[in-house]
């Protein structure tokens, strides 16, 4: 009788550990899913520059596919691909993983904001868009040339800048 009880208890414990593991896995999966694909359409708080390469806000942009894609949109709209397009070479090629002024988030951010001379992006581009542009630029080396080309093709088709086709 005693042995039976013990064995029943043992099974119970094992089941609960199994259940806990399953729940933990599900939660982990859910978290992994939600942060990467979260799509927040509403307005967000105004941004300041990243403090350093370990600013906790960086992950919100760099690890979120929608923020990166939004950066790609601004990349086209601000005319960045005129110099940094697919055929860019040397230091202007952003997809080669070589960063002249450092590849950390704050360093790339500073390169975009402060190192474009008279374009004065730090003043002309709102901070949040600079965050998104930075995330996009740092994302570029992660993709195959075909993927970058496909993205460029989509951006070329957008009626912005020289290809504007709407009312004048």
């Amino acid at each position: 009788m005693l042995i039976m009880t013990a064995s029943v208890r043992g099974t119970e414990r094992r089941t609960s550990i199994g259940a806990n593991l399953a729940v933990a896995c599900l939660i982990a999966l859910a978290c992994a899913g939600c942060s990467q694909e979260a799509r927040n359409v509403g307005p967000t708080v105004p941004q300041t520059r990243p403090r350093d390469g370990a600013d906790p806000r960086i992950a919100l942009y760099q690890a979120n596919v929608d923020q990166v894609a939004q950066g790609g949109r601004y990349f086209a709209w601000y005319g960045c691909q005129a110099c940094h397009g697919e055929s860019a070479t040397g230091v202007r090629n952003l997809a080669d993983g070589q960063w002249r002024h450092g590849g950390d988030f704050d360093q790339v951010f500073a390169s975009i904001a402060d190192r474009h001379g008279a374009l004065r992006y730090a003043v002309r581009v709102p901070p949040e868009q600079l965050w998104q542009l930075t995330a996009y630029a740092r994302d570029l080396p992660l993709h195959t040339p075909e993927k970058l080309h496909r993205q460029a093709v989509d951006q070329r088709a957008e009626p912005v800048g020289n290809s504007w086709s709407g009312p004048q």
């Binding site: 899913g33 799509r39 509403g42 990166v68 894609a69 195959t144 496909r150 093709v153 989509d154």
Partner: protein, 630 residues
């Protein structure tokens, strides 16, 4: 058709599944598989209905904050995708899987294992969409996910891939079911059931299966092109790269329009059977109804462009598709007049299945009339993307397909479970659902005419839309309440309902010849058919043939036109291979969301599983790999 007890025992032994989980995973019994399909789809209908109620809550007052725009986008995308791909089409096929062999007096489908494979893959599609939803990777671009919005640049992440791959799952499942149904109907009719003596339900299932076979490849092609665009950077839908975004819309709607008729045509089959049985006379104008179904099936492939009037096609082209769209009102109208004539000249018995048919006719006619309005290209330019369209397609889809489905559910429930559903609660459910539905969706016509656009998550006050939106929300809440009564009635009756006996409605077709609930072997003998209504037959008893094996699984194959007996065919036994194959295919489909290599690597386990499935058996081989497996 009384059979001696030893015959029934032998048949039971031959056709039963193994008990327990193993039997559950290996069964090829079309009734069990169809029941799974139906229960899963009903559960999803409940979930999608909850989404609808949530959206109605959000829209009940202006500038409501119950939902964010993103949640609203996800909700209507999930609602639409679930209802179209995971509820309506699978439910119609499930009714076919369950009822076609019964109505043919056969023991199983033509390809028993393919039925099992179809269900497991469908379940894979369900899990793909809803587990992804639980992980907050919900598709959020509507039920048709047009590029360029769904392309790689504008929909990063995997939301669109989840949607596209869910389509692949459900379409493979649908193709498997349709091929199975079409072959079963064409080659396994009982002796004497010539094409001219086929009940309308079988015609409807045959034609919608053929339509599925012809239209589904278009959507599988187009979603595969979308996945290729997103994953391996092809240019199908990139205009600057030589692609065309309209190509997606054309291919999508080349499937999408036949799809609504793939949903509607089986419903006309249910309606015809119910009207016949409950009017106590053979269907008026059987050939007219069948020819009308054929005409709808043919015309359905020629009017997909009416979903695209607003994209700027040439006007002459629009005119053509306007004419084609209006032409379909003719066969649809003929059918409705035939049903009304049957009721008019018969002795209608207003049991719940018949009530659902009457609800269907009233609602569907309203939906058909707004359909004629939206078919006109000129008017459609005003109405498109407004709530008028929402009202129209809910009237035709819920009124035209789901109401007959509920009627079919009540009608065939005693055959499936051996018990009758409560008539009183059935009438309550009918009044609540049909009343709530009309209260909920009729105001949307006006909202649409007043300019309220579709797919908006909220609206400002002062537009004059407040009252009608509140009425619509109240209506959908009543409707959902009715749905709960319906499901509650079905569950309660399952354990506590009145015993039905084999033929509670004194039905006209062969499924009523056997016991209720149907035993694993269906009918004990092969029936001989001499008329359109073999169970009535002018009072003559149903004659039957013998000669099909009892101690092994065997079915009778007959000729396509005359249903003359041709030969006896071995029917595949229970097997775990369809389940394993479906798992292998699921792994490949899911993997190909993330890497193209999954297609190449994933086909190896699929090939292995299929080899297991189709491993040849030779009766006379005693040794080696080809010996008959025990």
């Amino acid at each position: 058709m009384k059979a001696p007890a030893d015959r029934r025992l032998q048949l039971e032994q031959t056709w039963s599944d193994k008990p327990g989980l193993w039997g559950f995973l290996t069964t090829v019994d079309h009734k069990r598989i169809a029941a799974r399909y139906i229960v899963t789809a009903m559960l999803l209908m409940f979930l999608a209905g909850m989404l609808a109620l949530d959206m109605r809550w959000q829209l009940s007052v202006p500038e409501n904050t119950r939902m964010t725009p993103q949640l609203f986008n996800e909700s209507f995308s999930l609602h639409g995708s679930t209802m179209l791909f995971l509820v309506s089409v699978p439910l119609m096929e499930a009714l076919g899987l369950w009822l076609v062999p019964l109505m043919l007096g056969q023991r199983n489908m033509a390809f028993p294992r393919l039925s099992a494979f179809s269900f497991w893959l469908y379940l894979g599609g369900v899990m793909t969409l809803w587990v992804a939803h639980a992980l907050d990777i919900t598709p959020d671009l509507g039920w048709f996910e047009y590029p360029p919005l769904s392309g790689p640049s504008y929909s990063p992440g995997h939301r669109a891939d989840i949607w596209a791959q869910m389509i692949t799952f459900t379409e493979v499942a649908a193709l498997a079911a349709s091929v199975n149904i079409a072959v079963t109907i064409l080659k396994m009719r009982p002796p004497g059931m010539t094409l001219a003596r086929m009940p309308v339900f079988l015609w409807a299932q045959l034609i919608s299966s053929l339509m599925t076979i012809l239209s589904m490849p278009a959507i599988m092609l187009v979603t595969s092109m979308l996945i290729a665009d997103r994953m391996v950077s092809t240019h199908f839908f990139a205009p600057a790269g030589g692609g065309d975004v309209l190509l997606f819309q054309h291919l999508f709607w080349f499937f999408g329009h036949p799809e609504v008729y793939i949903i509607f045509i089986p419903a006309t089959g249910f309606v015809s059977q119910i009207v016949e049985t409950f009017s106590r006379r053979p269907l008026f104008g059987h050939s007219v109804v069948v020819l009308a179904i054929m005409a709808i099936g043919a015309l359905a492939f020629g009017l997909w462009v009416h979903h695209m009037f607003a994209v700027g096609l040439p006007r002459l082209g629009n005119n053509f598709y306007t004419a084609a769209s209006m032409a379909i009102a003719l066969p649809a109208g003929l059918q409705i007049f035939c049903w009304i004539a049957t009721m008019w000249s018969g002795r209608p018995w207003l049991a719940t299945p018949m009530l659902w048919v009457i609800g269907f006719i009233a609602t569907f006619v309203i939906g058909g009339l707004s359909g004629i309005m939206t078919a006109s290209a000129a008017l459609d330019l005003q109405l498109t993307d407004t709530y008028f369209i929402v009202a129209h397609f809910h009237y035709v889809l819920i009124g035209g397909a789901i109401f007959p489905l509920f009627g079919a559910f009540c009608y065939w429930y005693p055959k499936a479970t051996g018990r009758l559903m409560s008539e009183r609660w059935g009438r309550w459910a009918f009044v609540l659902i049909v009343g709530g539905f009309n209260l909920g969706f009729f105001p949307m016509h006006f909202l649409g005419l007043m300019g309220m656009p579709r797919r908006v998550y909220t609206y400002p006050p002062g537009m004059g839309w407040d009252l009608l939106n509140q009425v619509a929300t109240a209506g959908s809440a009543i409707s959902v309440l009715g749905g709960l009564v319906f499901v509650g009635n079905a569950l309660w009756s399952f354990w506590r309902g009145e015993h039905a006996g084999s033929d509670p409605w004194r039905g006209s077709t062969l499924e009523w010849a056997g016991l209720s609930p149907t035993p694993p072997y269906n009918l004990a003998y092969t029936p001989a058919v001499t008329s359109l209504t073999p169970m009535w037959n002018g009072g003559d008893p149903l004659r039957a043939y013998d000669g099909i094996a009892l101690e092994r699984r065997e079915v009778l194959i007959t000729s396509v036109a005359d249903a003359a007996p041709l030969y006896r065919q071995r029917s595949a036994s229970a097997s775990v291979w369809p389940f394993l194959s479906a798992i292998a295919v699921t792994a490949m489909f899911l993997g190909s969301i993330f890497t193209p290599w999954a297609v190449a690597i994933g086909s190896v386990p699929i090939a292995a599983a299929l080899i297991g499935w189709f491993w040849p058996q030779r009766e006379r081989t005693m040794t080696g790999l080809l010996r008959k497996r025990r």
